[in-house]
């Protein structure tokens, strides 16, 4: 969910890729009786490949078009995926059986292993992505491509391939997120939407393009939701994060951690 903040392309279908990932994993486990970890791997690879395909077939055509076209396209794609999912899997709610049962108590706080798996998984993922983007040739080339496409061309970086790879990775990461989240949100065709909106709010709050910002933004959104749920009326629980987001944007348009890029002439 975080990568796209780094590539300056907002993907509103991200949440739905996440949903697809969860469904693929569910299918592998429930229908084909595969092991959880195998299913995990399958989901990541399948959705990742799907992401690359999406880029090659659909999104490459809108490169160079205004940002708005991309936004509309991804929203449309998201809607398509949701419809596709509800046609294929129906509108029931599924649960993905996970190997994470039981609870652990750390310093007086009791955590179920399911939540723990989400936290650890997220940390591992972020760590891996961070290392990839800053320490590998391809990772740095991806950053370079997102910062200045034309110059990337001049450097002999195969820009189109890089774009497909970025999509594959981001779709794969979405799938991971979908699987990790599935015990909490349960799997249904709209699970992606709710998550994507919150993630979007978190990213905006933290400052677009800033990965630590997005993480902190996510924590803030989560906390606000929690407190709003406890102290305010039920309806406000879901709107409170967005109200805060608006206020923050009014005061600090670049987000809490964002840096405004100033171009030197």
């Amino acid at each position: 969910m975080l990568i796209y903040k780094a590539t300056e392309l907002v993907n509103f279908a991200q949440g739905d890729l996440l949903m697809l990932g969860a469904f693929v994993a569910y299918m592998s486990v429930a229908w084909w009786k595969l092991d959880y970890w195998v299913a995990f791997l399958i989901a990541v690879v399948v959705v990742g490949a799907f992401g690359a395909l999406l880029d090659a077939v659909v999104l490459r055509r809108v490169i160079g078009q205004p940002q708005f076209a991309v936004v509309m396209l991804t929203i449309g794609l998201g809607a398509m995926f949701r419809t596709f999912a509800s046609v294929t899997w129906g509108s029931e709610i599924y649960t993905l059986p996970t190997p994470f049962g039981g609870v652990t108590t750390i310093g007086g706080v009791t955590l179920s292993h399911q939540y723990l798996s989400i936290i650890v998984g997220t940390l591992l993922l972020c760590g891996a992505l961070y290392v990839f983007f800053t320490h590998t040739r391809i990772g740095v080339a991806m950053q370079a491509t997102s910062q200045n496409q034309l110059a990337a061309y001049y450097m002999g970086i195969p820009v189109k391939l890089i774009f497909s790879l970025i999509w594959a990775i981001s779709a794969g990461v979405s799938a991971v997120a979908g699987i990790l989240l599935s015990p909490v949100t349960l799997i249904d065709t709209n699970m992606g939407l709710a998550v994507a909106f919150k993630a979007f709010a978190a990213a905006v709050l933290g400052g677009f393009g800033s990965i630590p910002g997005a993480l902190v933004g996510g924590i803030i959104i989560g906390l606000i939701e929690l407190y709003a749920g406890a102290t305010l009326s039920e309806g406000l629980k879901n709107t409170a994060p967005y109200i805060v987001m608006l206020v923050v944007l009014a005061i600090r348009p670049q987000g809490l951690f964002g840096t405004l890029a100033r171009k030197k002439v």
Binding site: Y154, G156, K264
Partner: protein
């Protein structure tokens, strides 16, 4: 003259319906420095973009080392040994200086050679060594220009295309950068095609020059002879005949029109 390393013949390039290059031909001899002069909108940048493959010509050919490269993808052209220092530097603002330079060597596999070239580049521009771990976006305009040149050099090119390296720099810096360009040419044998508005500097630096106006080459000669021409003096170097200013201005026409 030996067979030119780069030969452009009758290229015509369009931006949509607008013809930006109207049949331009020129040659760049191996190991030389050739300049293309021209004012705003003459089509200088378009010529370079056509050579390096970012834009495709409708007609004509670009021949590099005996091989036609028009309509080739820019990353392939780059691999053949043509690097481009784009107008306005176009560094990667959020990468460090070192990472920017590594990106310049993206197409290369020999890490020893890359490390060597990194040292060589730091030798040409010591200030980049000091700034190696800063984000490129935080550099001054001059430093960014140095970085852009260095980044192109990291690919160990045979030909370097330089688009307005003097843009927005102080005269002192322009002088320094042109000195380095000459050194790169002499010491590393890199052929240079230099596109400039700063005709004075360009003519001092290059061996041979072409004058481009509204998409056409209107004059071609050695730089020594070009500086002597009246039109060049008046329109590109700003040297005007004394006493005749105001009155003569409207009468005076370029001889090639």
């Amino acid at each position: 003259m030996a067979e030119p390393i780069l030969k452009v013949a009758n290229i015509e390039t369009y931006y949509g319906p607008i013809m930006a290059i109207r049949g331009v031909s020129f040659e760049v001899p191996e190991g030389g420095i050739v300049t293309i002069l021209g004012s705003n909108g003459a089509g200088k940048t378009t010529v370079l973009k056509t050579i390096c493959g970012v834009m495709d010509p409708q007609k004509g050919s670009v021949v590099f080392q005996g091989r036609e490269i028009q309509r080739m993808d820019p990353d392939k052209v780059m691999r053949l040994g043509i690097s481009h220092v784009p107008e306005g530097r176009e560094v990667f603002p959020f990468l460090t200086v070192r990472e920017n330079l590594r990106m310049g060597a993206f197409t290369r596999r020999d890490s020893d050679g890359v490390a060597q070239d990194l040292e060589a580049v730091f030798g040409y521009f010591p200030v980049l060594r000091e700034r190696a771990d800063q984000r490129a976006g935080s550099l001054s305009g001059g430093e960014q220009q140095m970085l852009a040149i260095s980044r192109a050099l990291m690919a160990r090119p045979k030909v370097m295309l330089l688009d307005e390296p003097s843009l927005g720099l102080s005269p002192k810096l322009v002088k320094d950068i042109f000195d380095i360009i000459v050194r790169i040419n002499r010491e590393r044998g890199v052929t240079i095609l230099l596109v400039e508005q700063n005709a004075n500097m360009a003519l001092q630096t290059a061996d041979y020059g072409y004058v481009l106006e509204v998409g056409r080459i209107v004059m071609a000669d050695t730089c020594e002879r070009l500086v002597e021409k009246e039109d060049i003096k008046e329109f590109y170097l700003g040297i005007k005949e004394q006493g005749a200013r105001g009155q003569r201005r409207w009468k005076k026409r370029k001889t090639w029109r």
